[in-house]
Subunit: 673 residues, 2 copies
């Protein structure tokens, strides 16, 4: 695409395809450089971060040179000053790049201002759980635990904060990414793994802050949101096709040993539940701590809880039921794999080269150093292939990724503060390569909560992390929708979550109603998967109540019935890079009323899903986009678009609307029966 | 005092009397200027403040010129830059001043770095309630409500935060002041009323931040801490002598109307309680709101609750008992004084000149504009003299002072953001002038919680504000000691507090034990005064329990017995500027172990008081300074100084130690009988 650099109003304006991308004048500079000294304290994946900015200097003086390959912007503080920052502007097939060609030594902070429009909306920044439309807030971008409660006004958050520094806030996420999509139909991506903070609070500019000079800034442009998502997903890498077997029913998360799993599976069959797979975290065995039962972090089958697992997996296979396990990038130092890794020098070390252990609460772990190609290869071959895929697993939860401590030494010599954000993608890549080298891409799978730029190319399926077992605004059911929409715009086509949530602390307990509402939403996602939660014994489980069991069974059959639909959407994910769960504006960009909606989504172009995310609701309201009429799935009532409507929404009738006149209308409406 | 400006290590050093006061080099500049845009939201005296710093620029280039009157420091960003900040250095009798002679337009932030020593201690910054030694933290300086709980880790603070934005933090205080005392035996004072933030977290410098250019920075120096406090108190103004009648016993805070007051007073006599005065807030009448009973903010006697007050005051006078009232700088708009003030144009207005009312919870008030000399004079004559002093009051609580909103228009045309911090001193001055013009200075008195630079010259007595009714670290009994010590170093000789605390919210209730421990401390302060608290009916009152009554009576007699001691200390306050309650290091500066002690004090040179500030304690430990032996008041046990000792501390035996060999030793030890 061509760009232009125009002198106007005593300054300079960078334009591409009609968009104003950069604007600079001595009195309104677009670049500030500075020096800061950060304090970063980590406690079990929760970070307390503070910056002391010693200097923040406007680069008011800009010199422009142009040549046939592009243009060079040389920024200085004043006339006669040495160049402080040199940006090279290069046209790209889908936009324009600004390469940081030179930065004066000493600066470790950069603030870049992009022109903003008054009524502009922005989305993205990875998987954001609290806010889909990012305007009006700032978003620190640093992969971490998302927090428990994530809302300083709730008692739950306060308790988590004071007991474990783990309350979190609206911007905390396992998967941040320094990329956003503007309603001006461009995507800005910053190529860096440094700590960043994107600030959308200002009326006439967005301010992007970086704690190291980024490599480059990439503007991607397209004429429509759909095209833009296609460009963006091609940039970050498209996932393999979603394995078809996932749509055979629900994946049951069970962690009570083989007998428990067999028993629940038998009951499931009796209740007519469609089951695609069993996912048993505890295949590696347990460790008893004062906190409760924890997994044994030595990623190999332990026979105590699943005495005959290999044969059982084979048996399950005959019934078309898969078996999945659990893994993360740590190795407990009382396990055998830790010793193997240590012996071969595959673990990250302390800064002075000594052993480095991370305390996970009464047990310590080494960090497999994925910046060492030999270590990554070892983990891929020795652990993921030999112990897991070859053993018969069809996949796993690839947990963690967001905990890389910042005070350890890595094989590649890069500061851990710059590798911290890179870690989720490295972790994803190791997992993906194991599956690829086994020839099982698109069949075996894994799901991750952590992410960063490029995770799209490797992680075949996101899971939304550890929601609280409630309907709360910032840590409950509805946050999962926000996570799917924001990550989906950046090329993560497949998303799902723990049905019923995960985190139960301080007496916060899962109800049957929550489980049912979550089930009803999960039908219309890439995959249905349950989790017994962090405290299985204290929380509601679907197998404790016949009515819930029956409802769940019906929902799994609905999901199975949608298999052809999901298959078609998975095709679109591969060819167009479109997510399965789509913000309304992706198909209705002319309707600006859809731009800030974050608790509804389109499941493909024809189904509008408005999950019930409150307790005690019997009716629910939804906004229907302009331009079509919509048929309420359960009542058949037809509504004009462009309005908010209210429908009955008893348990069992999740608010879903079918686009009138769509090709599959008859099929969709038949699902109500 | 002479100063020197020496070229060294490629930079410049300002020295005075052996102290390094300023150090500048291009690579380590001492001045940064910048531009910021603050957000300040006030909710009932609690402020939520955030700054967006657009630029923070080092002024690396320094040009020095010297002449006979002093020296001029001209700071610029670089060679060839226009002067950005010009400081004039002037010798002063007790130190040196840096006058801001010129600042380039546009800058509204200044950061100044002063050299710090590794083991330096700093104290002051007004009346600090949480930390006496300020090193290791930063202290925003903005007069406000101090908050309820003041500790984000407590449930009480969290509840106050979420219900009323009133939880507060360690640095919130009614009385900030941009002045600190260094263990290098200098005091730095910044002459400004702008928002400031003094940051003592850095190893080798203190960084002082100002949200407007200060007029000047004053360094005061002395050879000893005692001399330094004398210099400082002379600079800010010394209080009049403490009225002797305050030592006739306790001032009883009662707000249940005349009958209640008469009844408690009669019981007090029966129990042998020494009473100096009755302090009845509700002399102005009550207003019923959904929050509970509030005072009627129209500062005149209302006969309903005290039908025959004038005569009663006369009768009390015959018994040598004074009567005090309550006033604050607001006028409720359903009162008569409001109408008088409004008619004469004595109230602050909105920015467009319209009426400006402050919501205090179901009633609205006007703000008397003390920047208008005629308004101040009116309040002095019409309210404080005519309605109060002439009526027979011997004093009052002069409440508030820290609430000036920042969005109103004042008569003097100065931005309310610059008048906000100035308000407490203006308020004190109006009160002091009323007493002075009545010829009652040193007899009638008032007590304030709000303060700022110069309040010392007008406010005859501080009270420590509204502690919670508990022993909590950041809002309970012990914070009162910290408040006395920090404000005392800056020339506030007299300090006291509500015995038993004031704020009872969210089920936090005063115990008899708390009342008794607080009483035992109050004996050794300028004045004993009770308060029934914000919820008298729910909280413990001394008159509800005979044992407590007897203990209280004994403590008032102890206070009366100390009257000659207090009189001698009040003499020292007048002549030397020394506070009654003194940090240990004031008399033991060679003993650095005393520098960070904030829960003990010397009451004059000879008595060491270590108040019990925990529930359930029967023993208590105290540090005794080096250089003397100390006699435990109750047991007569003698301890060498330079060690921490533990003594029995049952109720009734507050931990007090007498300096062995002091002139009054026999008298002090006789107090135990």
């Amino acid at each position: 695409m061509q760009f232009s650099l125009d002198q106007e109003n005593g300054g300079l304006a960078l334009r591409c395809a009609g968009r104003l991308l950069l604007r600079h004048a001595a009195q309104a500079p677009c670049v500030f450089v500075g020096q800061g000294r950060e304090r970063m304290d980590m406690y079990r994946g929760n970070f307390d971060i503070e910056d002391y900015v010693e200097e923040r200097t406007a680069l008011r003086h800009l010199a422009l040179t142009q040549d046939e390959q592009g243009a060079t912007l040389t920024f200085a503080r004043h006339v006669g000053d040495a160049p402080q920052l040199v940006l090279r502007v290069q046209a790209q097939p889908h936009g324009v790049h600004l390469l940081v060609q030179h930065a004066a030594p000493g600066w470790n902070r950069l603030w870049l201002r992009l022109p903003a429009e008054q009524d502009e909306h922005v989305w993205g920044c990875g998987e954001q759980m609290s806010y889909f439309d990012l305007r009006g807030r700032h978003f620190p971008l640093w992969t971490s635990e998302p927090g428990v409660g994530r809302d300083k006004s709730t008692h739950l958050t306060w308790q988590a904060d004071v007991t474990a520094k783990s309350g979190g806030d609206y911007y905390h996420t396992n998967y941040p990414q320094p990329s956003f999509i503007s309603s001006q139909r461009y995507c800005l991506h910053a190529e860096t793994t440094a700590y960043a903070d994107f600030d959308f609070r200002h009326a006439d500019f967005h301010e992007l802050q970086f704690w190291a000079m980024p490599e480059r800034l990439e503007f991607m442009l397209a004429d429509s949101f759909i095209d833009l998502v296609g460009v963006v997903s091609a940039r970050f890498g498209r996932q393999p096709r979603l394995p078809a077997w996932l749509q055979n029913g629900a994946m049951l998360g069970l962690k009570g040993g083989e007998e428990h799993a067999r028993s629940i599976l038998a009951q499931a069959k009796q209740h007519g539940l469609a089951v695609s797979a069993l996912w048993c975290e505890d295949w590696v065995g347990l460790r008893q701590t004062s906190f409760g039962k924890r997994l044994f972090w030595d990623w190999r089958w332990q026979p105590q809880r699943y005495p005959d697992l290999k044969n059982w997996i084979a048996d399950l296979g005959k019934e078309n039921i898969r078996f999945l396990g659990y893994v993360n990038p740590y190795l407990c130092n009382d396990g055998t794999l830790y010793q193997e890794a240590l012996r071969q020098g595959f673990l990250a070390t302390s800064m002075d080269g000594g052993a480095y252990l991370v305390d996970f609460g009464e047990f310590d772990c080494g960090v497999v150093d994925f910046t060492n190609p030999a270590a990554a290869q070892w983990f891929e071959d020795r652990v993921l292939r030999q112990e897991m895929l070859d053993f018969g697993l069809s996949g796993w939860m690839a947990d963690f990724g967001e905990y890389l401590p910042i005070d350890l030494r890595l094989h590649n010599g890069v500061d851990a503060r710059l590798m911290h954000n890179a870690w989720p993608t490295l972790w994803a890549e190791v997992n993906a390569r194991a599956i690829e080298s086994s020839g099982k891409t698109g069949d075996a799978t894994f799901f991750m909560r952590a992410g960063y730029t490029g995770v799209q190319a490797h992680c075949p399926l996101l899971w939304a992390g550890d929601q609280s077992v409630d309907f709360s605004r910032h840590d409950g059911l509805q946050t999962v929708i926000c996570g799917a929409l924001s990550s989906g715009l950046l090329g993560n086509a497949y998303h799902h979550s723990d049905i019923g949530g995960y985190t139960s602390l301080f007496g916060n307990l899962r109800t049957a109603e929550l489980f049912q509402r979550w089930t009803e939403m999960a039908v219309f996602t890439s995959m249905m998967r349950t989790h017994e939660g962090n405290r299985p014994d204290e929380n509601f489980q679907f197998y404790q109540d016949d009515q819930v069991f029956a409802h769940f069974a019906r929902m799994t059959r609905l999901h199975v019935a949608l298999a052809p639909t999901i298959a078609a959407l998975a095709d679109e994910a591969v060819t167009l890079g479109l997510p399965l769960q789509r913000p309304l504006f992706l198909h209705y960009e002319h309707d600006r009323a859809t731009y800030a909606i974050q608790d509804q989504y389109l499941f493909g172009p024809d189904l509008l899903v408005a999950p019930v995310h409150a307790a005690g609701a019997t009716r629910w309201s939804a906004y229907l986009p302009q331009g079509h009429a919509w048929v309420h799935l359960w009542s058949g009532a037809v509504f004009d678009g462009g309005q908010r409507v209210e429908v009955a929404a008893p348990i069992g009738q999740p608010p879903v609307f079918v686009r009138q006149g769509c090709a599959q209308q008859v099929f969709f409406l038949s699902l109500a029966n």
